[in-house]
């Protein structure tokens, strides 16, 4: 029989892994899109096919999309051992705060007081919605 604290550690390890993959995926795709430039301008110049080609030829986007795919399968695995009522709000909230931290550190975004407050409000809101 697994000790209760082992189960808790395992559950939260899975939740953290899911959130980490989501954060990596979101930040990499955001970095890819930022580097690519305004897609509306690219679409106006090269058409929809050109815009899709530009996105699909971005290595950062492809890496980010791979992380998102891994995140999907990690979430499926997590849901097999953790209740949805804990896994969904916990991963969503950790992802929102983690994205704000990662955006400041890696994407050099100006995460001011207003954006921090928004991330905290979203976390609290997601938890209340899951109740």
């Amino acid at each position: 029989m697994i000790a209760p604290h082992t189960g808790v550690v395992r559950s939260w390890s899975c939740i953290l892994a899911v959130a980490a993959m989501a954060i990596a995926g979101e930040c990499l795709t955001a970095a890819g899109m930022r580097k690519l430039g305004d897609l509306d301008i690219i679409r106006a110049r090269s058409g929809m096919a050109g815009a899709i080609r530009a996105v699909l030829s971005s290595p950062l986007f492809l890496l980010g999309a791979s992380c998102m795919a891994l995140n999907f399968f990690a979430m499926l695995f997590t849901l097999s051992i953790v209740d949805l009522s804990l896994a969904a709000p916990a991963t969503a909230s950790l992802t929102y705060v983690g994205n704000a931290v990662a955006a400041k550190l890696f994407l050099r975004e100006n995460v001011d007081q207003r954006r921090w407050l928004a991330a905290v409000f979203v976390c609290a809101g997601v938890f209340l919605l899951a109740k």
Binding site: E26, C27, T29, A30, M33, R34, L36, G37, D38, L39, D40, I41, I42, R45, S46, G50, A54, V55, F61, Y96, N99, A100, A103, K104, L107, R108, E109, N110, V111, D112, R114, R115, L117, A118, A119, F121, V122, A124, G125, V126, F127, L128, L129, A130, K131
Partner: protein, 150 residues
């Protein structure tokens, strides 16, 4: 410099809010009709592709991804994030008024918090100007068109 959005860029953000939530709700409705899928009945997944709710859900989620990528090309991740969170609010309203589910006081409080979060961010600049960052200009894009830039 403060980056303000153009009206069509606000439409993209609204598309992000609506397509993800309505797409998920349609997928949920479709999969209810298809039935539970397990490893012994994976063929049901193929069957699910012929369900109109599932098809509509897939189309909307493709639209969500396209809108999300477009928004990230002209706005910060921390600006777009609350817009995606607003999808939870839309799902809650769909649950209340389409599926006639009961919404507890906690859920209404959650909705209020997310609406406030969107309000905080929507009022500020959409993009951080990074010194020294090169943005593709129109002339660069002309080079991309001709293939000379690759």
């Amino acid at each position: 410099m403060k980056h303000r959005l153009k009206p069509q860029q606000y439409l993209i953000l609204i598309a992000i809010m609506l397509t993800a939530s309505v797409g998920d709700s349609l997928l949920s409705r479709g999969m209810e009709q298809v039935g539970a899928v397990d490893v012994h009945h994976l063929g049901l997944l193929w069957h699910a592709l012929f369900n109109p709710y599932v098809d509509a859900g897939i189309v909307l989620l493709i639209g969500f991804f396209a809108s999300y990528m477009t928004a990230l090309s002209w706005a910060d991740l921390t600006f777009v994030m609350p817009a995606t969170a607003f999808g939870y609010v839309v799902v809650a309203f769909l649950a209340r008024y389409w599926r006639h589910e009961h919404l507890s006081i906690y859920r209404w409080a959650g909705i209020l918090l997310i609406v406030c979060a969107v309000g905080f961010v929507a009022n500020g600049p959409s993009r951080t100007e990074i010194p020294g960052e090169e943005r593709p200009s129109h002339s660069d894009l002309n080079l991309m068109d001709s293939g000379a830039g690759r």
